[in-house]
């Protein structure tokens, strides 16, 4: 009985189908209005989760429009668990197919960046390898060695200058950004409590992405292209604290 009632109640919230549950409830006001209170509470709570994850996306479209978009998103994307850190991953894909924001082609990538940012902000802590740990490393070892990336190291790329758009809005700099200024590749890393952004080249992105996928150094180097300055790149990211293990 309770299961049936909960299924009917859930339908009233998620599909606005109130016919099964309405006869089973009572209150001061009509059943539709009573159920609308709970429906509003659910949508408000989930909208707030999205607002916390996507502050710049909200800023770009304004609070009112963001809430409308969130409502449309929530209707077809209910959380699968009570862990709200997991909620909203596919918001950028939703925006990508959401006709009202067609004229903002960079918007889905802004949302994608904010999701990646959150993944870095909440990932587990780890201690980066100090530069000394690499002193023994010879180039002939590159064929058989893998480097494990820091759990907070996340990679992002876009054909739009999303990092600039994000920084200008999160810091409220008022900077004018030209969409024609080109794309970006970003390495996000949280050495302590703050997420740091490192602008990287496309070959660097491919190199780090390959390492992250478990490739040996030499394979990652091959993937990055023949002109890739391997030693400079390795040194830079060793100093950034990107690696936590040599395997």
């Amino acid at each position: 009985m309770l299961k049936k009632l909960q299924r009917a109640f859930a339908s009233a919230l998620t599909e606005e189908k109130t016919s099964d549950i309405a006869p089973l409830i009572k209150g001061k006001i009509p059943a539709e209005n009573l159920l609308a209170i709970y429906r509003n509470n659910s949508f408000a709570a989930l909208t707030q989760v999205l607002q916390l994850t996507y502050p710049v996306t909200e800023k770009l479209v304004g609070e009112g429009f963001f809430k409308y978009a969130a409502h449309e998103f929530i209707q077809n994307n209910w959380p699968k668990s009570g862990d709200m850190d997991e909620y909203g991953e596919n918001f950028s894909q939703f925006l990508d197919r959401f006709p009202p924001v067609e004229n903002l082609p960079y918007l889905p990538d802004v949302a994608k960046f904010e999701w990646v940012y959150q993944q870095s902000a909440l990932a587990e802590n780890a201690t980066a390898l100090a530069a000394e740990a690499f002193l023994e490393l010879k180039s002939e070892d590159y064929l058989k060695i893998k480097l494990q990336l820091h759990p907070t190291a996340k990679l992002f790329s876009s054909k739009y200058p999303i990092d600039e758009i994000w920084l200008a809005n999160i810091k409220d700099t008022g900077a004018e950004i030209s969409l024609d200024s080109g794309g970006c590749q970003v390495l996000l890393l949280r050495p302590e409590t703050r997420v740091m952004l490192h602008s990287i080249t496309h070959p660097e992105y491919v190199f780090l992405e390959s390492l992250q996928a478990g490739a040996k150094i030499y394979k990652a180097y091959e993937a990055a292209g023949a002109d890739f300055p391997l030693d400079i790149c390795l040194e830079r990211h060793i100093l950034n604290g990107v690696f936590i293990n040599i395997n």
Partner: protein
């Protein structure tokens, strides 16, 4: 124990710096599921100075589907890391199949529901290896099939499972006003020995279909009628760890501290 306040993000730094005199800090357990990060670090620092209470909103103890093992594991992890002195959730449900509905939904208070809630509470307590508290929720509707009054329903769960009750005085007032029963009579029926914590918060009034409905939004100061009910509750059951919650339109820390101070004065008066 002095009253505590709900720990909000905007107050992390100020509490760390000022270290106000508070009995404890309460957090929504779900906000600290991530294994690290800024909030995690802040709470690790603050727990050196204050007892922490873990109040969750996502266990769905009233689900006919049972409790989510994954969610339980995350709460257990929280307990291992932050060592809370209280662990609580609500007499409500929020999950149906694959969907989490993100609200504290009401339950028909029947023998069947009692059995389901007790099984879920037992499973939770067994897995966490400790006692939990269950809070009376604010409700906006009732089920005609309910045949056990809420205070008795909570007392029964406590008797059967050994759990405690988290008495939310604001929720009593909100539900009493919405359904036309007396908050005082509700207090008469609670199991005093089971109460392990008291919650206080603000509500909002709204008019729907020509009727005034109170909504538990935790977005304002505690209402004078709720303070009056709190005074009676303390007189009846004695001083219990008391929390001031404020979750929307969170004000300056001093506003919360002043509310906690009011609760402290009421607790002290019982012993004067």
């Amino acid at each position: 124990m002095l009253p505590g306040i709900a720990l909000k993000h905007r107050h992390f730094k100020e509490i760390k710096e000022r270290r106000p005199s508070l009995g404890f800090l309460e957090v929504h357990t779900e906000n600290f599921f991530a294994p690290a990060g800024y909030a995690h670090e802040c709470l690790l620092g603050l727990r050196e100075h204050y007892p922490v209470s873990a109040h969750s909103v996502g266990l769905s103890l009233g689900s006919a589907d049972g409790v989510d093992q994954n969610h339980l594991e995350k709460i257990k992890k929280f307990i291992e890391i932050f060592q809370p002195f209280l662990v609580s959730d609500h007499l409500s449900w929020s999950r149906m199949g694959e969907k989490f509905l993100a609200d504290l939904l009401p339950l028909p208070l029947t023998e069947e529901t009692l059995e389901i809630v007790c099984a879920n509470v037992e499973k939770t307590q067994e897995f966490l290896g400790r006692k939990i508290l269950i809070e009376n929720p604010s409700t906006y509707l009732e089920f005609p099939e309910s045949d056990i009054p809420e205070p008795e329903f909570l007392a029964e769960i406590a008797k059967i499972t050994g759990c405690g009750v988290l008495l939310d005085v604001n929720n009593i007032f909100v539900s009493a006003t919405n359904h036309g029963f007396s908050g005082q009579e509700y207090l008469e029926k609670i199991s005093c020995a089971a109460v392990g914590e008291i919650h206080l918060a603000g509500f909002t009034r709204t008019e729907i279909a020509g009727q005034e409905i109170l909504i538990d939004d935790h977005g304002s100061a505690v209402h004078p009628s709720v303070w009056a009910l709190y005074r009676e509750a303390v007189k009846k059951i004695g001083a219990k760890p008391t929390l001031v919650e404020w979750d929307t339109d969170v004000p300056e820390l001093d506003v919360l501290l002043a509310e906690a101070e009011k609760a402290a004065e009421i607790m002290e008066m019982q012993y004067a």
